[in-house]
């Protein structure tokens, strides 16, 4: 399996002396869905920002092909003066894709916002805004996708529904994914692999391969195997915090 994203002994100390990352080694193969869980403030967002090129590591290196990179922020980061359709078209404009209306339409259909294309962000629910944000990246048909707690602000039901949709998408497109979440259930449900980070400075302290085959049905969440794995991840997290 070729590597899509590789952290090699990455360390990052901010100018104010805060060390956010310490010696992180992590590979994400193409077609892999890797989720990072860890206590709040441990450096998960920083890790993702290094991968996206928004922060430079102070030690080690990170290699990734950023030509077609999908990045979904914690909030939807939609431009309030653009309609759903125009927001979804933003990255196509920035990447000079020319007439991308077919791609934009397809991305909007994937996230089920066909009826809402002319709405402005202030008229959207949190879930709809997040779907728009997702569609915006989908237009690029990215090979590498990064998510920073994208569904953290949503209610449980919407979150699960979006998780189901994301799995469907992943099965169809098989982009290499680095996903960050606070929710262990979300991590296990989505991923091929869950990694656990220590409290700050963040290091990777455990890997859990998730054996469940795709496509995953929503009732996977209620099986014994699922809960066993979730418990194991939870134990690692607790152990790390002591």
């Amino acid at each position: 399996m070729p590597t899509a994203l590789q952290f090699t002994s990455v360390g990052l100390t901010f100018p104010d002396g805060t060390t956010a990352l310490d010696n992180v080694d992590l590979d994400v193969g193409s077609g892999e869905f890797v989720t990072v869980v860890g206590p709040s403030g441990c450096g998960k967002s920083t890790l993702l920002r290094v991968a996206a090129g928004l922060e430079q590591p102070t030690k080690g290196s990170c290699s990734v092909d950023r030509t077609s990179l999908g990045f979904v922020f914690q909030d939807a980061t939609l431009f309030p003066w653009r309609t759903v359709h125009q927001n979804v078209g933003l990255l196509a404009e920035l990447h000079g894709l020319g007439d991308a209306s077919a791609r934009i339409g397809a991305a909007i259909d994937v996230v089920g916002l066909r009826e809402h294309v002319d709405k402005y962000p202030r008229q959207l629910s949190g879930g709809m805004a997040m779907r728009t944000s997702l569609a915006r990246s989908l237009v690029l048909e990215p090979d590498v996708f990064m998510f920073d707690e994208p569904f953290g602000a949503l209610d449980e039901l919407t979150r699960e529904r979006l998780n189901d949709e994301l799995v469907t998408l992943f099965v169809a497109r098989r982009f290499a994914t680095l996903f960050i979440t606070h929710s262990i259930a979300e991590a296990v449900f989505l991923s091929t692999r869950v990694v656990v980070m220590s409290p700050r400075p963040g290091r990777i302290i455990a890997h859990h391969d998730v054996p469940f085959p795709y496509p995953r049905r929503h009732d996977l969440r209620y099986t014994a195997e699922f809960n066993e794995l979730a418990a194991a991840v939870s134990n690692d997290l607790r152990a790390a915090q002591r």
Binding site: A52, F79, R82, E93, L94
Partner: protein
């Protein structure tokens, strides 16, 4: 009654009540507050309307002191037209220069630091200190009056535009950077649209100031073709108080119209997406 109609009615009734209070106070001032021999200083509203607006032209030749300065609607409108031209041209120039300056300043901290103190100084020095100087250096004609307007209207546009361009969400900026947007691209696609509400706030303030600038410049130049400012001064000097109040009212109306126009334009441009903070 539907909510819509009620809201519209409420929007009209407020200003009407205030207008009534204003006119009432005016009459009160004329008939009650002023002593008999000083009453001419505050002529009653109906006299003002009659003499300044309903009389087309007051013939200067009748030689009574009060009318020697001329007056009537034709003079008033001619002066108003001149002042409006000065104000609008001054405002347009201030908008172009102001937005260009703010854009430059938004590109580098050092440019901002280099220019800002001088803008603040321009703003802080009373315009009255400039006016005579401009007249002496550059003549008392149209262009000098326009310059006064530009000086007085510039600052709010620069300050608001700069504020708007710089207070872009960090995550929005990062999204643009992440996808390789150049500075020009950031300005065009992110910063200017995001700054629109602030820019229109600045435009609205400056529009009002430009009208003041047009009148103040004219008032103190006292030369050249008369605008509203010179009329006010001349009517005051010749005790033509009805005409003077008429000129003041026209100046106010010009300010209100320009202010209202930019408010309307702003709502047209950003109203669909921008929600001002709730009261």
């Amino acid at each position: 009654m539907t909510d819509d109609r009620r809201a519209r009615l409420a929007r009209i009734i407020g200003p009407v009540i205030v207008f009534g209070c204003f006119v009432g106070t005016w009459y009160l001032a004329h008939y009650v507050l002023m002593s008999e021999n000083r009453r001419f200083l505050v002529p009653p509203p109906h006299d003002v309307v009659q003499e300044a607006f309903l009389t087309w032209s007051v013939d200067g030749g009748t030689a009574t002191l009060a009318t020697s300065a001329g007056g009537g609607l034709s003079d008033q409108l001619e002066a108003l037209w001149l002042s409006a031209q000065v104000a609008l041209l001054g405002l347009s120039i201030a908008i172009v220069i102001g937005i260009a300056l703010a854009t430059l300043m938004s590109q580098a901290k050092w440019v901002e630091q280099a220019i800002y103190p001088y803008l603040v100084a321009l703003q802080a020095i009373p315009i009255l200190a400039f006016v005579p100087l401009i007249g002496v250096l550059w003549g008392f004609e149209f262009r000098s009056r326009v310059l006064v307007c530009v000086i007085i209207a510039l600052f709010p546009i620069v300050a608001n535009t700069l504020f708007g361009l710089l207070s872009v969400d960090r995550s929005h900026r990062e999204l643009m950077t992440l996808h390789g947007a150049s500075r020009l691209r950031q300005l065009r696609t992110l910063q200017f649209p995001a700054a629109m509400p602030a820019i229109f706030t600045g435009l609205q303030i400056s529009a009002g100031l430009a009208v003041i600038g047009a009148i103040v410049g004219d008032f103190f130049f006292r030369q050249g073709q008369p605008g509203i400012g010179q009329l006010i001064d001349r009517y005051r000097a010749s005790l033509a108080y009805e005409q003077m109040y008429g000129s003041v009212i026209l100046a106010a109306v010009l300010g209100i119209v320009v202010f209202w126009f930019f408010g309307w334009l702003g709502r047209r441009v950003v109203g669909a997406w921008y929600e001002p903070a709730a009261r």
